[in-house]
């Protein structure tokens, strides 16, 4: 049985970010590991991602970021908190400088994956930390 079974993940870009290549690759990698991926694509506002997270009842939100618009990611974390969805971790991947990664984690982003992160690392992290991990491992 594949690691991702039973885990629902959002993979999305945020704000006006239109760089879809990275997100598309991650979506496929996760699918091949058994995850159910809600792929939202480009030009997704934090509000749209929130709605998708609620309606699809996802266990983790993955943001692929290549537009330096980190303020949007912070805003998303804030929105999730306001809507009592902080149990759904937000992880990011992409061109995110170290000091920004630190700042984002300080604001509630669960983990930041730099370019070149292995699929094993990403999958391993999600399996261990997505919402419901305890229930699934029981």
């Amino acid at each position: 049985m594949l690691k991702g079974k039973g885990i629902k993940a959002i993979v999305s870009m945020i704000g006006l970010d239109g760089h879809t290549t990275g997100g598309e690759i991650v979506a496929r990698v996760l699918r091949d590991a058994g995850f159910e991926v809600i792929y939202l694509g480009a030009t997704q506002t934090p509000e749209m991602i929130l709605q998708a997270a609620i309606q699809e009842d996802v266990d983790v939100i993955g943001i692929s970021s290549h537009a330096s618009n980190y303020i949007q990611i912070e805003y998303l974390v804030e929105l999730l908190r306001k809507n009592e969805m902080s149990d759904v971790p937000v992880i990011c991947g992409g061109n995110i400088p170290k000091h920004v990664a630190k700042q984002l984690k300080g604001r509630g982003v669960a983990e930041v994956f730099p370019p070149g992160s292995s699929s094993a690392d990403i999958i391993g992290y999600i399996v261990a930390n997505a919402r419901g991990a305890q229930r699934r491992s029981a």
Partner: protein, 539 residues
């Protein structure tokens, strides 16, 4: 570890005469400056014309961008300026649009109106250097309008300006997306192209494979896609706009992405020149030599600039720059060592420019044209990538050309599959990247490089300034020019909108207003995001 080219050809360990059997110098290579131009376009190479060395800029407000451009000039970048738009301008909305507020000035220049362009270009000459404004296809007509409008204001003859401000609509499929529909981007791109060609403005249009390759496409695919894009654009300018090939050949400017696989990149550039020349002559009946030459600039690959151990990127950039120079180009801009981290810091920018200067003045590579010609390996590689490129090119042509292949999803699937393959190769260590999947060191042990800070509070400032400034414009003139633009936008696709766009831009219409009104004229919503209403009324 794979010992293959990036398009899957297994490399031998040694190449010899048998690998170039049937080689005919005058047919396959010829001297530099002679058809089919495999060896380059200038008999004296860089001795007669050094490549333009430049760096990209565009961060924060237009005033900030102006400062950066002046700083680069002081650092030795005198050949030209190169500025990238922010996402807001790329999507053709204004900074005071609800979605624009948080991202204005982030990762690019907020070029929303002529005012911004004037601020950015203060004390910077429009002539005597190449003016390049990049960033997505949709705002191409606006960028051109800014240049023409500013030239008129400064009393400069536009035909004295050179550079590139137009990007082809194909970009949207290669990861450089904007939110404009393809057919609108295509029509406006053709409008801008026709305008520069008829008015003899030496502005080029980038019809490039850079984004294709940066999104994962391989060299053979890049060659096929390149030729197909140029063929499509030139074909339309000829058939739909009544131009002839030799005129349209002045338009395209190719930006080749050069990665670390040194010899393959050189072979790719040589093959591209040869394939383009043959297409020009045999498919389009080019009458002049110039029409068989493709203006080629090089961009060293940003994708190869690793996040881990960024100092390694200096070595990568050096190899890539050397490959680009030996391959033969008219301009070269390098990605910087901190590409995976942020916009270039001053240190990284200087490092990249110095890399070019070292290659130019210390390596001797610029003293001889096409120095690797005659190498069994390089000639064999050139032939091979050309052969593989033609296979894909023929497939695309059989479908009816680039636009048809895109409509069928062929190009997108090819790119997706290749990107996934590249990821798998690295993930599975079939290809090694030092610091990433080979010889990895813990992040704590890594060298800390200075990182350019991103000032996010500028976005709100830019947005507020725009909102306050809009009502101060000459409303009568604005309404008149916008009204004319709307009327023209409702006409047939072949009606060139550039003249009315330029008039609106001179009246300080913003990008959101210009594009919004064009969209409305074509039956689309004013705002691509359908969040704001058109502020103008028309009869």
């Amino acid at each position: 570890m794979k010992r293959e080219t990036d398009y899957g050809y297994a490399l031998k360990s040694v190449y010899g005469p048998e690998d170039v059997a049937g080689f005919d110098y005058s047919r396959d290579l010829n001297d530099p400056g002679g058809y089919p131009y495999t060896r380059g376009y200038y008999p004296e190479g860089y001795r007669s014309r050094m490549w333009t060395q430049r760096m990209t800029a565009g961060l924060g407000t237009s005033v900030d961008a102006n400062k950066v451009l002046k700083k680069y000039r002081d650092m030795g970048q005198v050949g030209g300026i190169c500025v990238i738009s922010d996402r807001v301008f790329s999507d053709c909305i204004d900074p005071d649009h609800p979605l624009g507020r948080r991202e204005a000035g982030v990762l690019g220049w907020p070029g929303c109106s002529l005012l911004e362009f004037e601020e950015m270009m203060e004390d910077i000459p429009l002539t005597g250097q190449s003016i390049t404004l990049l960033g997505s296809s949709a705002p191409s007509t606006l960028r051109l309008a800014y240049v023409v409008a500013l030239a008129q204001k400064r009393g400069i003859d536009p035909s004295k300006i050179h550079g590139s401000v137009m990007e082809s609509p194909f970009e949207n499929y290669f990861g450089q997306t904007d939110v404009s529909p393809f057919d609108l981007n295509l029509k406006l791109f053709l409008d801008a192209s026709e305008y520069v060609l008829r008015n003899k403005i030496r502005m080029r249009a980038s019809i490039i494979s850079q984004h294709f390759q940066e999104s994962g496409g391989n060299s053979a695919q890049a060659l096929a896609v390149n030729l197909s894009m140029v063929k499509e654009i030139c074909g339309r300018l000829i058939n739909e706009r009544g131009l002839d090939f030799d005129t349209t050949s002045l338009l395209p400017y190719e930006l080749v992405s050069v990665g670390t696989r040194f010899f393959e990149e050189i072979a790719k550039m040589r093959a591209l020149r040869r394939m383009y020349a043959r297409m020009a002559k045999e498919e389009f009946g080019a009458k002049t030599e110039k029409a068989c030459q493709l203006l080629m600039a090089v961009h060293t690959s940003g994708r190869t600039m690793t996040y881990q151990q960024p100092l390694n990127n200096i070595a990568r950039c050096a190899i890539q720059t050397l490959a680009g120079v030996i391959g033969g180009c008219s301009a070269l801009d390098n990605a910087t060592l901190d590409n995976a981290h942020s916009e270039p810091s001053a240190l990284a920018a200087r490092m990249s420019l110095n890399t070019q200067h070292i290659v130019a003045y210390e390596s001797g590579a610029a003293d001889v044209v096409d120095p690797l010609a005659g190498s069994y390996f390089v000639e064999a590689l050139t032939n091979k990538v050309e052969e593989e490129g033609y296979k894909i090119y023929n497939e695309i042509q059989a479908m009816g050309g680039m636009v048809a292949a895109l409509k069928k999803g062929f190009i997108q699937e090819m790119l997706s599959a290749e990107a996934a393959k590249k990821f798998r190769e690295i993930d599975g260590k079939e290809r090694l990247v030092v610091g990433v999947n080979h010889l990895v060191i813990p992040p704590e042990d890594d060298f800390e490089i200075p990182i350019q800070e991103v000032h996010s509070q500028d976005s709100e400032t830019i947005a507020n300034r725009m909102a306050e400034w809009k009502p101060t414009r000459d409303q009568k003139l604005l309404n008149a020019t916008i009204g004319q633009l709307y009327a023209d936008a409702r006409k047939d696709d072949r009606f060139n909108l550039m003249p009315s766009i330029i008039e609106a831009v001179k009246a300080y219409a913003t990008v959101g207003e210009v594009m919004g009104v064009i969209r409305k004229g074509r039956g689309l919503s004013y705002d691509p995001f359908e969040m704001i209403e058109c502020p103008f009324t028309f009869e």
